[in-house]
């Protein structure tokens, strides 16, 4: 168990460092950080990329977008 918790800490630390690099160098992540920090998370490019993904899950105080979007193509059936 000690080993498990050590692995978890290592993963966490490495991920934070790697994540900082990605946020620092990738414009979309950088803009996402700035949007959230600026209090406008809805302007984040990441949030916008997920516009059609579970549209019922919206940002606090923002209306759900389910009705606004036209449905995509139907699924393949078995």
């Amino acid at each position: 168990m000690e080993q498990g918790s050590r692995s978890l800490m290592i993963i966490l630390c490495v991920a934070l460092v790697l994540g900082a690099l990605v946020v620092g160098f990738h414009p979309a992540y950088r803009n996402a950080l700035l949007s959230i920090a600026g209090g406008h998370p809805e302007e984040s490019p990441i949030w916008q990329a997920n516009r059609d993904y579970y549209p019922d899950v919206s940002l606090p105080a923002a209306p759900a977008a389910a009705e606004a979007e036209a449905p995509a193509a139907p699924a393949e059936s078995l």
Binding site: Y29, I46, A49, Y54, E67, P71
Partner: protein, 1118 residues
């Protein structure tokens, strides 16, 4: 020993369920079986208590080489426990499938008068049924007279049904007389025949006999009000009104939402009373244009009370042997009917209880879990771009529905995305990520299972350990977290299994000091028992079987394979690596070679040569890697490889072939990368999701964590992308149950050969005389030989030698016909259509290949294309990729279709040298009138496929074929236009067209190409004079139309195509008034069998299957 008995009890419980599935008794056996179960259970507990007192456990019992000693008491208790488990399993399944119909009265009819015992109370309002106790010597006509307590909802101001403050539906009750409609029981009906009286009764008063034989006996029973009692097929469907409650998390797709609604009341007849419902749920598909859609397309809708109207459809079974059986799938999940709600046809209301301001909520724990899930989805949406977010949602939260239309990371969809992929992976793929995962064998990560639960368990344990909290304190919290996780992810069998097992482990580890290994073998059967006692039908559900197969493979096969592989050292290890490399090349580059016997013989020779060479070189001291071997690889890696190998042998190969007719060969390799990577992705995702919930700083940490995870999850998506393109996803023949039994018997021998040999066989062997030893070996060989012969005979029986077997497959608006000749040849005529727009549907893949696999056919003697039209040829690339085809035959008019790039490239590839090796080249030949194919004679009856058209030199007409076997014949008209039908009539003598069965021309839509607007005025005349004449000349007893939804093929002309088809069927009825007119859209696949004298025609469906919303593969879980 008690633990072993508990394990055996659980397995016998499962075997009892399996036997009940195969040989169910009648409902009347239920009561005695329950009594027997209780008595056996009590006896078992008493016997176990006595045994514990008289025979304390001894150490030597687990030692392999301890000789076996017979102990009467132990054996008796074992037998009692096993019988109890078996009877309990049998009874539990029977109780699920047999609705305990309530006997209301025995009735005897004598001289036109019915004598009924004092009828018992019906209990609740519902239908009645008459169950014959004696044969109906003549037609019986009677009426059941009674009363109905009619319930009608109390409407609100808007006319909607209302709920009282306690959440009960408000009704007004009126007692009405129920005079009963006339019930007709046909003459000759046998005892046991049941006739359902579809009228509601609350009390039965009497019986009026209209006409009856001199004496008749029957029972009146009250069926349980299940949903399926009110669901209907095809044209028999009637609209119903339902008052119920959403009792599961809504499945929200991007284009629909699927609700599981438990009905409280159903109104079966318009303006009729509402009837209470006791069992089953309704699968309701809601289309996004329904008003108020957004209110129910979300997790919060769980628990809502709803009222709606719609057609309650009984789900259909498989339209073709081997295809997906929707009815069975839904039955396993206790779903009795399906409803699809559309804006133009249906109303759907969420009902708020009187005095409340919001709809009712569901179970508090579930509500909390779903709330938590939505919060984590919100974090994912803020911190991870598409398509990775869809993958993460599916992986972490079981939200597979969100991945339904998510395209590959190498698709052009992301060229203009707001967050571009890390690197440019190209835009050439049109695949869905879900399909890539399936083809690369890593789809199992989306089925939330032991991998996820174990990672989460370890993660939580790690967090608590870091915080220095005692395990006795934190174990309950981790168990609670696992329960919440199971609810969040949909509580599917694989998740429940893992949660139960991990919880058992945590509890025994935390409070009883036991280790992981001892809990694994106990945890598997106990978890299975807990799941199956709640729903025994799950025993054959793929998600259950695959999950338990996987964990048992890991637990039982990993160590034996590790022990086997570690013997490979030095030169032997090099030989083993070379063999693995050869196998990998064949799997990746030339799958068809791997399906030939010659390859495996060559492979065995190569193995013998390599290991022989290894021995010789070692003997001469040439050992370039010394004694390095499998055992020297770091144990984490070597153990993982052995576990993966065990998983393939124990679960993937046999069960994937059995359920899906496919084996993701890439999985054996892709999982070596995917499983370690998914551990990282899942942990980071869970941490990000949970930390992101912390107000303030949480979302920033989550952003950093998921920024890193963006790279790791992209790596995972690339594994799916590349392994699915490097390896084929081949079809394999479906093993029979006997094959599976033999296969697992071999696996069991491999796992337990030591205790079997050392403890049981060797002591006997040592004492035996020489003659007894010879006899034993001979007997063993005889058993093996008999088993092999039995399995072989089973396969031979499938070929049905001496019969001509024709199956007209249900492939929508297209053609796919299987012909099994009397001398055992397999021929396929046409390859069906492939729909690429508006959702994908490849009937070659979903219908034809499963059908062939279910018949254990992996090689075709010929593939015949009758036309170049896409509904005949679009599936050709699929079939060429997966099947060994001896010959490709087609008319001159179809030659251009073979030049299409996707077909031409495969045909060219089939000329490569490696196809010489495997003998899988495909010779092609153009057919013309006058040829006779596959001529043979069986039992004095000649068989041939006659080519009637096109005439030599005609490069536009399709093939017209006639199958003749003895006195039986079948005419296959193909895609003939009116002009071509007329030319055939002019050219071919009448006796050459004479056939018992005709497969009608052009799906019954001949002339569609010429139609511009509306039905041509002279269409009926042309049908009568041309097609009608063709049918008359054939003199057929049966006319078959290959038909289905024409929209994907003919696009905007689909409405007129349906009208033309209707007209064609009417013309056929006029031309051949005595013939059976069948169509594959109504009857499903049609099978025709003849021994050369007459045809036997059978259809998959007796009535038209309803147009229901089929579960997606992501919903089913594969």
């Amino acid at each position: 020993m008690t633990q072993n008995k508990l394990i055996a009890f659980c397995y016998l419980f499962i075997i009892g369920i399996a036997v009940a599935m195969a040989f169910p008794l009648a409902a009347s056996a239920l009561a005695p079986l329950w009594l027997l179960t209780v008595l056996l259970g009590a006896a078992s507990l008493a016997a176990l208590a006595l045994l514990r007192k008289w025979r304390p456990p001894v150490e030597s019992e687990s030692v392999y080489d301890a000789p076996f000693r017979f102990d009467g008491l132990q054996t008796g208790v074992w037998a009692l426990v096993l019988v109890t488990g078996f009877v309990f399993g049998y009874t539990r399944y029977l109780a699920m499938i047999q609705s305990p119909d309530r006997l209301i009265a025995h009735v005897t009819v004598e001289d036109g008068r019915a004598m009924m015992e004092e009828p018992r109370d019906l209990g609740e309002t519902g239908f009645l049924a008459i169950r014959l106790a004696s044969r109906a010597e003549s037609e019986i006509r009677l009426r059941l007279v009674g009363e109905t307590d009619a319930l009608l909802p109390v409407p609100d101001a808007a006319g909607k049904p209302t709920l009282d403050a306690d959440g009960r539906w408000a009704f007004t009750q009126t007692t009405l007389p129920q005079p009963g409609n006339e019930i007709v029981i046909p003459e000759g009906a046998r005892p046991g025949t049941v006739v359902v009286v579809e009228q509601p009764y609350t009390r039965l008063k009497g019986i009026e006999v209209v006409s009856a034989p001199a004496r008749a006996r029957f029972d009146i029973v009250k069926p349980v009000n299940t949903v399926s009692l009110f669901a209907r097929h095809g044209r028999n469907v009637v609209p119903v009104r339902v008052l119920g409650r959403i009792t599961a998390d809504p499945w929200v797709y991007s284009f629909k939402t699927v609700l599981s609604i438990t009905p409280a009341f159903i109104q079966y007849q318009p303006d009729g009373p509402y009837l209470p419902i006791d069992r089953q749920t309704i699968r309701v598909t809601v289309e996004p244009d329904l008003p108020g859609y957004s209110e129910i397309a979300r997790s919060a809708a769980y628990g809502y009370d709803v009222a709606f109207g719609g057609q309650l459809i009984s789900p259909s079974g498989a339209a073709t042997a081997g295809s997906f059986d929707q009815a069975k799938y839904l039955r396993n999940y206790n779903i009795g009917g399906q409803v699809t709600l559309k804006a133009t046809q249906n109303a759907f209301d969420v009902i708020v209880p009187r005095g409340a301001t919001a709809p009712r909520e569901g179970n508090g724990l579930v509500e909390f879990s779903l709330y938590l899930r939505d919060e984590i989805v919100r974090v994912i949406k803020q911190t991870m771009p598409q398509p990775n977010s869809a993958f993460l949602g599916a992986l972490t939260l079981g939200l597979r529905y969100g991945m339904q239309n998510t395209r590959s990371i190498a698709s052009g969809d992301y060229d203009d995305a707001t967050v571009a992929p890390i690197l440019d992976f190209g835009s050439d793929s049109d695949e869905l990520i879900a399909d890539e995962f399936k083809a690369s064998g890593i789809n199992h990560v989306l089925a939330v299972s032991g991998l996820h639960v174990t990672i989460i368990t370890i993660m939580f344990m790690g967090i608590f350990t870091l915080l220095k909290i005692s395990k006795k304190v934190y174990v309950p919290f981790v168990v609670f977290a696992l329960v919440v996780f199971a609810i969040i992810t949909g509580a599917r069998p694989s998740t429940l299994r893992a949660v139960i097992m991990n919880s058992l482990f945590l509890l025994t580890w935390g409070y009883m000091g036991q280790g992981v290994r001892s809990s694994a073998l106990l945890g598997v059967p106990v978890a299975a028992f807990i799941i199956l006692i709640q729903n025994p039908a799950m025993a054959v559900d793929p998600s259950f079987t695959l999950s338990f197969g996987a964990i048992l493979s890991l637990a039982l096969l990993t160590q034996p394979f590790f022990d086997l592989f570690k013997k490979a050292q030095g030169n032997d290890f090099i030989a083993l690596c070379i063999l693995v490399a050869v196998l990998t090349w064949v799997f990746a580059a030339h799958w068809l070679l791997a399906t030939t016997v010659r390859f495996w013989i060559l492979f065995a020779v190569l193995a013998a040569v390599l290991f022989g060479l290894s021995k010789a070189l070692t003997k001469h001291g040439f050992t370039p890697i010394g004694n390095y071997g499998f055992a020297d690889i770091p144990v984490g890696i070597s153990g993982f490889i052995a576990a993966q190998f065990g998983m393939q042998i124990g679960m993937m190969i046999p069960l994937s072939a059995y359920y899906f007719y496919r084996w993701p060969v890439a999985g054996a390799y892709a999982n070596l990368l995917a499983i370690p990577l998914v551990g990282v992705v899942l942990q980071l995702s869970m941490l990000a999701g949970l930390i992101g919930l912390i107000p303030g700083i949480g979302i920033y940490i989550a952003l950093f964590l998921n920024a890193a995870n963006w790279i790791f999850s992209t790596g995972f998506l690339l594994i799916g992308r590349y392994f699915s393109s490097w390896f084929v996803y081949p079809f394999v023949t479906k093993p029979t149950l006997a094959w599976l039994f033999a296969y697992y018997a071999c696996c069991a021998l491999f796992v337990w050969w030591r205790p079997l040999w050392y403890r049981h066989a060797r002591p006997v062997w040592r004492r035996a005389s020489a003659s007894a030893r010879v006899f034993s070996v001979a007997a063993l060989l005889a058993v093996v030989l008999l088993a092999a012969c039995g399995l072989r005979a089973q396969k031979t029986a499938m070929l049905d030698e001496g019969r001509l077997d024709v199956a007209v497959l249900s492939v929508g608006y297209g053609s796919g016909i299987y012909v099994g000749t009397p001398d055992g040849k397999s021929i396929l005529i046409d390859t069906a259509f492939v729909q690429t727009d508006r959702g994908r549907r490849n009937d070659a893949e979903r219908t034809i290949m499963p059908f062939l696999c279910s018949r254990q056919i992996k090689r075709l003697d010929a593939l015949i294309l009758t036309s170049g039209a896409p509904e005949h040829t679009a599936g050709l690339p699929t079939l060429l990729e997966y099947l060994d085809i001896d010959e490709l035959l087609y008319p001159a008019s179809a030659a251009s279709a073979l030049d299409r790039p996707e077909i031409a490239s495969i045909l060219t590839e089939r000329t490569a040298f490696r196809h010489h090796l495997s003998d899988t080249e495909i010779p092609r030949r153009v057919l013309a009138a006058g040829e006779r194919l596959f001529e043979t004679e069986y039992d004095g009856k000649p068989f041939a496929i006659e080519v009637l058209g096109p005439a030599a030199g005609d490069a536009s007409a399709p093939l017209t074929l006639r199958l003749v076997y003895g006195d039986a014949s079948l005419l296959l008209c193909g895609e003939l236009t009116f002009a071509q039908q007329q030319a055939l009539l002019d050219r071919v003598p009448a006796d050459a067209l004479a056939s018992d069965v005709v497969i009608a021309p052009a799906h019954g839509t001949a002339g569609l190409d010429e139609v511009t607007v509306g039905m041509p005025n002279d269409y009926d005349t042309r049908l009568a004079t041309v097609t009608g004449e063709l049918l008359k000349r054939s003199g057929a007893d049966t006319v078959i139309y290959e038909f289905g939804n024409p929209r994907p093929v003919v696009q905007d002309k689909y409405k007129i195509a349906v009208r033309l088809h209707g007209a064609a069927k009417r013309a056929a009825e006029e031309a051949l008034p005595d013939a059976d007119i069948l169509a594959t859209d109504i009857a499903g696949s049609i099978t025709l069998l003849t021994d050369g004298t007459a045809w036997t025609v059978s259809t998959r469906f007796l009535t038209e299957a309803g147009d229901t919303d089929a579960p997606t593969s992501l919903e089913v879980g594969w």
